[in-house]
């Protein structure tokens, strides 16, 4: 083995990205491409009573104005089994198939024109009259119900009784707002028909499913749709599903007989590609005087749309993070007239941990116990919910490494007791964890007589470094230098890959790449001491290819696999002006084997930045009268800027989880966001003595 795994290899796609050569979806420009602009509804619920498209049709450069009145009925062939990224209950929004308006911002017409400026102007000329209906646009006003998909409640022991009998209890409600992925690259689709075959250059985290979904919409054989997406300019979950604009691109291209491009505006992104749902959570903890948990009740109520049921794993941390004999979780939904929420980085887990880890901090205060000691006192030696041993767990090491690097022992326990000049100083910590999943995946590997290799899988790289990590895995198995191996992804013409989400890519595609490379070596005969050129000559060929399909084994029946982490944050608070700054965050992680320490560290750094945004900045300003996100831009929906970020440190506990998969990697990305917001919120409490349970923690909450 050349041993590139575990080495801090520079991103192999770095040169393409720093020179502007890397091409993202909107940048593929087939000859004669036309431009599409969308018309969004401006009422949250009702019917389109009348449409006036005359001015738009007459506008310069316009080729077509597509509405429900002139769009063809699309087959929308039902699925035997829905793609795992789509909600199992409800029906996805259909495009231009009827006059119903289900949320403000719903695409109700599309204009195709020669230039983007012409298309957008004409879209603004489309006159719409609505028959508006009473809409449910407040969380409080929506009906609360259990998920129709089931799984709304779990019980272990008797939590309610145990809480009643507990020596020490805390019981509080935590709220976080609707948040948006806001990847830098806007979603875009370029569509090109050649007869009954369709090519889409689309921003997606799952080219295979994108193709299948569009094939279902248009009633085509799956293999008639090819999806290409070599680069994804961030997505964080917004690219998991195939959203309506992809269908609009394909439909528009079909109707005008030319390729088209749909590129969503920043404002449109707030209603087109899902969001993290507003969620309210109650956490009640009961403990003995020594800190051991005796009861844990965690209830979450999240918004969903009226037409689809989006649920997330908000309550899984409550069930597995700590040892506790009595656990009750209850998940509820509120239907609102909004577009359907979707998964956003560490969906559910990051927000469930926010509530749980703040509650643990409150319990530590009630017990007069160090927050870290409280976590250690309740360390879960196995997954008590599933009654399984961990495939690996180095969380104790994370706590120790993180605390040491951070200087947790310098923390004076009392709130408002630490200062730096005029600033109040607070230290806070939180546990992080995220389930490690693995899925079936395929890859192919080809070696050539010139001593190079090409390895392929229809995977995706939205930033974590799939290109780089897969190149490393392949190079190691093939015993080739990194620069002799080329990894291709993001094309349905390549061997099938699972969704690029849930941090499963390394464990799934990585394992397939490993297997394909091993297979091609086996096909050639042991290459020991022989060059590939010699081996190929002996076989009388100039190249040799092998394909591998790998599936998870029964490991998930025998072990529970999670990534873990410990987060420590320092905040400085100017209570007069309400300003909170975060000079330092330290995160220590157990993610199994680290394939590339450089890109792995970057993932965790990015999670800290995202978590800081979640803690202090991000929220959609929702106006229920219009059912609209009012700050649908980058000036007023605040994500962190460079000046918000202080010193971030990432540590990895040694790990190699071969029980989980042959590569030993548990996956990371989601774990990076976990635990950051509660560590910061807990630090704000420590600095100020004020327990703030609603995110983001903005100036007005801190002002005293």
């Amino acid at each position: 083995m050349s041993g590139s795994i575990g080495r801090p290899v520079s991103r192999v796609d770095g040169p393409a990205k720093v020179t502007g050569a890397a091409r993202y979806a909107a940048e593929f420009a087939p000859v004669d491409v036309l431009h599409v602009a969308l018309v969004g509804s401006t009422v949250p619920k009702g019917r389109i009573a009348a449409l006036d498209t005359r001015a738009a049709q007459k506008a310069a450069g316009v080729r077509a104005v597509i509405t429900h009145l002139n769009a063809p009925r699309l087959p929308y062939r039902p699925f035997d089994e829905r793609p795992e990224v789509d909600p199992s209950v409800g029906e996805p929004l259909r495009v231009f198939q009827g006059p119903e308006v289900r949320f403000s911002g719903q695409p109700i017409a599309a204009v195709v024109a020669d230039t983007l400026a012409q298309a957008r102007h004409a879209a603004a000329l489309v006159g719409v009259t609505y028959a508006a209906q009473a809409a449910t646009t407040t969380f409080e006003g929506g009906r609360r119900r259990a998920p129709k998909a089931g799984g709304g409640e779990t019980r272990r022991g008797a939590a309610v009784q145990a809480l009643g009998n507990a020596a020490v209890t805390v019981d509080a409600v935590y709220v976080h707002p609707r948040e948006h992925h806001n990847a830098m690259e806007p979603h875009a689709t370029v569509a090109l028909w050649e007869g009954e075959r369709l090519t889409l250059w689309d921003k997606t985290q799952w080219v295979n499913n994108d193709a299948v979904e569009i094939a279902h919409v248009f009633g085509l054989p799956d293999d008639h749709v090819r999806v290409i997406c070599p680069y994804v300019g961030g997505a964080f979950g917004s690219g998991l599903r195939t959203w309506p604009h992809v269908t609009i691109a394909a439909l528009a291209a079909r109707l005008v007989g030319r390729p088209v491009r749909v590129e969503l505006t920043r404002r449109e992104l707030y209603t087109s590609v899902g969001f993290r749902p507003h969620t309210e959570q109650r956490v009640a903890l009961g403990a003995r005087r020594d800190g051991r948990l005796t009861a844990l009740i965690h209830e979450a109520t999240a918004q969903t749309s009226a037409y689809e049921e989006h649920t997330e794993e908000t309550l899984s941390p409550a069930r597995v993070t700590y040892a506790c004999p009595n656990v009750l979780t209850r998940y509820r939904l509120v239907e609102m007239d909004v577009n359907t929420p979707t998964h956003m980085r560490a969906p559910g887990v990051a927000t469930g941990l926010f509530a749980l880890e703040c509650a643990m901090d409150e319990l530590a205060v009630a017990l007069d116990m160090d927050p870290l000691e409280l976590r250690l006192a309740n360390y879960a030696e196995r997954n008590e919910e599933d009654d399984l041993p961990w495939s690996s767990k180095e969380l104790r090491a994370c706590y120790r490494m993180g605390a040491e690097r951070f200087g947790w022992s310098r923390r004076a326990p009392a709130p408002r007791s630490m200062r730096a000049g005029a600033w109040l100083v607070g230290y806070g910590m939180a546990t992080a964890l995220y389930p490690a999943y693995r899925s079936e995946a395929s890859a192919s590997a080809t070696v050539f007589a010139d001593g190079t290799a090409s390895v392929r899988s229809a995977a995706s790289d939205m930033g974590p470094g799939t290109y780089t990590a897969m190149t490393q895995v392949a190079a190691d198995v093939l015993e080739l230098p990194l620069d002799r191996v080329r990894f291709e992804l993001g094309d349905t013409a390549l061997p099938k890959a699972p969704v690029h989400g849930g941090s499963i890519t390394m464990a799934s595609v990585g394992t397939a790449v490993q297997a394909a490379c091993e297979a091609v070596r086996a096909k050639l005969g042991a290459a020991n001491g022989r060059s590939y050129a010699e081996a190929l000559r002996e076989h009388g060929v100039d190249r040799m290819e092998a394909t591998a399909h790998v599936e998870p084994g029964d490991e998930s029946k025998r072990f529970s696999s999670w990534a873990f982490g410990a987060l420590f944050a320092e905040v400085r608070v100017d209570v007069d002006l309400g300003i909170v700054r975060v000079p330092r965050i330290v995160g220590a992680y157990d993610v199994g084997r680290v394939v590339n320490p450089t890109t792995a560290r970057s993932q965790c750094l990015g999670g800290m930045v995202g978590g800081l945004g979640m803690a202090l900045l991000e929220q959609a300003d929702w106006d229920p009268r219009f059912g609209r996100v009012m700050n649908a831009n980058f000036a007023e929906y605040l994500v962190p800027v460079n000046a918000d970020i202080g010193e971030l440190q990432v540590l990895f506990a040694p790990g190699d989880d071969r029980r989980f998969n042959p590569l030993g990697a548990k996956g990371l990305a989601e774990i990076g966001l976990c635990g950051v917001a509660p560590a910061i919120a807990n630090a704000v409490y420590h600095a100020t003595g004020r327990r703030l349970r609603t995110l983001p923690i903005t100036l007005e909450a801190v002002l005293v």
């Binding site: 020179t19 502007g20 890397a22 830098m184 997505a235 920043r266 990015g606 000046a643 970020i645």
Partner: protein, 162 residues
């Protein structure tokens, strides 16, 4: 001097990366759209079209600007440099190389804008401290959160240039 007659279609020559590029454009065309859709220089990224993200940062007469906030017509005669014009003879510009070396990128979409901004920052001499770099790089959002590595890359490029 009388005002030239205002026109909806503008004939102009853009000077981009040292080349003269004659164009006939709808007056509404932003510099960003002219670069991406008409000159096919897609290295300059479109993130918000409202000057709020910095992905479209280019140099005009050596100074950094946001290409989405100006009309192409307003840039006739100006010297525009985009990310494609930075590398000389196939060799990465020191700032580009530093971004790769320090992993100052993840998805890569904000990266050309970050790099153009950083190149200008070095010329502006705003690299006295990491805090100064952070402040003067705050016009470029990075949703992947690569800020720490971006600062490290710029620090290295500044130190090597010194």
């Amino acid at each position: 001097m009388e005002l030239p007659r205002p026109r909806r279609d503008i004939e102009l020559t853009l000077r981009v990366n040292g080349a003269e590029r004659p164009l006939t454009l709808d007056a509404r065309t932003t510099l960003l759209d002219a670069l991406r859709d008409h000159l096919h220089l897609t290295g300059t990224k479109k993130g918000c079209e409202l000057g709020q993200c910095g992905a479209c940062t280019v140099l005009r007469d050596g100074r950094r600007i946001k290409a989405c906030l100006t009309l192409a017509a307003m840039q006739a005669g100006a010297e525009i440099v985009t990310i494609e014009g930075l590398a000389a003879d196939g060799a990465l510009h020191p700032v580009q190389a530093a971004f790769v070396e320090h992993d100052g990128l993840q998805c890569g979409y904000c990266t050309p804008g970050q790099i153009m901004s950083a190149v200008a920052l070095l010329r502006e001499g705003r690299t006295g401290s990491d805090d100064e770099i952070r402040e003067f790089m705050s016009g470029n959002l990075c949703r992947c959160g690569a800020y720490t590595n971006i600062v490290a890359a710029i620090r290295q490029a500044a130190d090597r240039a010194a």
